[in-house]
């Protein structure tokens, strides 16, 4: 849109005819913008403000106490642990999957892409149940795990597995179209110049996909922190042990500790806002890069 304006401004002579065909009359523009703004205010801004208002209802001391409560701290800590395991693993998986799909030709490629999308279409609760059925006490692998002394369901490994399942499409989905549009010729050039597979990946592929990768990581990160359904099924809600932040908020809320619930919720909102800011910076950066390139 901005480019259109500059073009018009630069052309000398009759510019009367350059009115953009896709542009609506001013009035319609304003109506549409107002609708969007109203919608966003109602469903996003007001609830967000409500969270903070509710959180500070009983004063800053109560707010801090709610967050500093051992159970809350444990929930924050567990969430961070899950993120630290899930996001790097999914980053590796995403890059490998995108590489496989875009750089090689093989049968069943489309089927693989569909499989990667599966977590998007399966309800998180069902995903959680699958893992309970698989790893639970009476599950297919449960007895084996029990004889080895490993506990997956109702403990951290289960939460991590469920989170990985829910969030693995994010990075792969971000990278596949990017790598498809970039093609394989730079990698081929690198190979003909004598670089091996790893050096080619490190010096050529990775720098080309770094912004897309980071974007995917941020989306994956946000979803991992916020995931409720699947984690709720496998966690068992053991206070101070297997409660992630969203689960902890639910418990507090169900116990009528509203301001504590909202205090933890406000923490999560802050995470979300930070993520949003980083995402915008990356978008701005990539945009800047692509306009420079063209």
């Amino acid at each position: 849109m901005e480019q259109d304006h500059t073009v018009v401004a630069k052309t000398n002579g009759p510019v009367i005819m350059t009115k953009n065909a896709t542009k609506e009359p001013k009035l319609i523009q304003w109506i549409l913008i107002s609708i969007v703004l109203l919608f966003l205010t109602l469903f996003l801004v007001v609830p967000l403000i409500a969270i903070f208002v509710k959180a500070f209802e009983k004063g800053a001391d109560a707010y801090l106490a709610a967050i500093a409560h051992p159970d809350s701290l444990a929930a924050i800590k567990l969430t961070l642990i899950v993120v630290l395991i899930t996001v790097p693993l999914n980053a590796v998986f995403g890059v490998v999957a995108a590489w496989t799909i875009t750089k090689y030709d093989f049968r069943g490629k489309n089927f693989l892409i569909t499989l990667i999308d599966l977590p998007f279409s399966v309800s998180p609760v069902i995903a959680g149940l699958i893992f309970v059925l698989l790893f639970g006490l009476h599950g297919a692998l449960g007895t084996v795990l029990q004889s080895l002394g490993l506990k997956v369901i109702f403990s951290i490994p289960g939460i991590v597995i469920a989170s990985i399942f829910i969030t693995f499409p994010f990075i792969a989905r971000e990278l596949i179209p990017l790598m498809q549009s970039q093609g394989t010729s730079e990698e081929e050039a690198s190979l003909t110049l004598g670089a091996g597979g790893f050096k080619t990946f490190w010096y050529v592929t990775l720098p080309n996909i770094k912004w897309g990768l980071l974007y995917g990581v941020i989306l994956c990160n946000a979803r991992t922190i916020g995931e409720f359904g699947a984690v709720s099924v496998v966690s068992g809600h053991i206070r101070g042990m297997t409660n992630t932040m969203p689960l902890h908020i639910e418990i507090l809320y169900n116990e009528y500790q509203f301001s504590a619930a909202f205090a933890v919720a406000s923490m999560m909102s802050i995470f979300a806002i930070i993520t949003l800011i980083i995402k915008s910076i990356i978008e701005w950066k990539t945009d800047f890069k692509s306009t420079k390139a063209s």
Partner: protein
Amino acid sequence: MSIIVENITKYYGSYQALTNINLEIESGELIALLGPSGSGKTSLLRIIAGLEQAENGNILFNEENYTHKHVKDRNVGFVFQHYALFRNMTIFDNIAYGLKVRPRKIRPSKKEIEQKVIELLQLVKLEGYKERYPSQLSGGQRQRVALARALAVEPNILLLDEPFGALDAKVRKELRRWLRRLHDEFNVTSVFVTHDQEEAMDVADRVVIMNEGKIEQVGTPEEVYDHPINPFVYDFLGSVNLFKGNVQQGKLVSGNVEMNAPDSEDGVSTGYVRAHNFIIEREASGNDSIASNIDHIHSLGAIVRIEVIRQDTNEPLEIELTKEQYTLLELKKGERVFVRPKELRVFVDYMAGI
């Protein structure tokens, strides 16, 4: 370094891209693989490079079998049609790349690399551009960088895939001259793919004409132009006029015209005459004079292109005259003239009976 291509066959799924290709390229030669799109020329080049594997056959460099050697160990320079420069690196880093990624034992020092890159930048006349990124260069400049990058690793073999295909006519001409110079200077064996016959004829020592996954003819530009061995090559190189007819007792009969074809077998045949191999006259001078009307005259530069319509068959013929011939004849559009082929080549239509 010589290249021998032995019985190469390549399939893409069920599509046969190359069928039993045999080709010997001598050390120091500059070879053009010429053919229409889909003729398999790029596949052959990529197989020589090791970017693709053939189902069958061998690739030998200096008589050593390289068929199963990995691309990175073949020491070939490869230039891509769309440059394939590393977009995240500066021009300097692009050219230095091949040296930088070498194993530590054989990697030149930082200083040596820098010196080499500067030399190559001078060679491609882009000294001032080393800090720029590929996106900040024009197409011709990018392709020069790609060439410098390929030459940096001192390859024995330089392979170029339609190197000038994406450039405009003027830059193409400049760059191909320059490729010839670099080829001679660096003492490499070069193979380049093109669909532009003028480009192939202009630069190459020998031209390999390919069609539908097979080699039709190999020879010097003069050989393939003057002595095409089959209708495809005749048709592919330069503009040519076809005379469909019948050979009877050493004469090709086409429409009302009889042309001498002393060495041809009897049967359904096609005569081929290059556009510049015609004489235009005002009077008929024999059985091979074709009564025609001038339909169009394009007079641009040293060559004048004249389109005439045969009166007997209503088929168009394309004729090229030099400016002098044209001025002497004082031809006018719509005029009736007689056209006589100076040189005729007749091929029997093997497909005619089928």
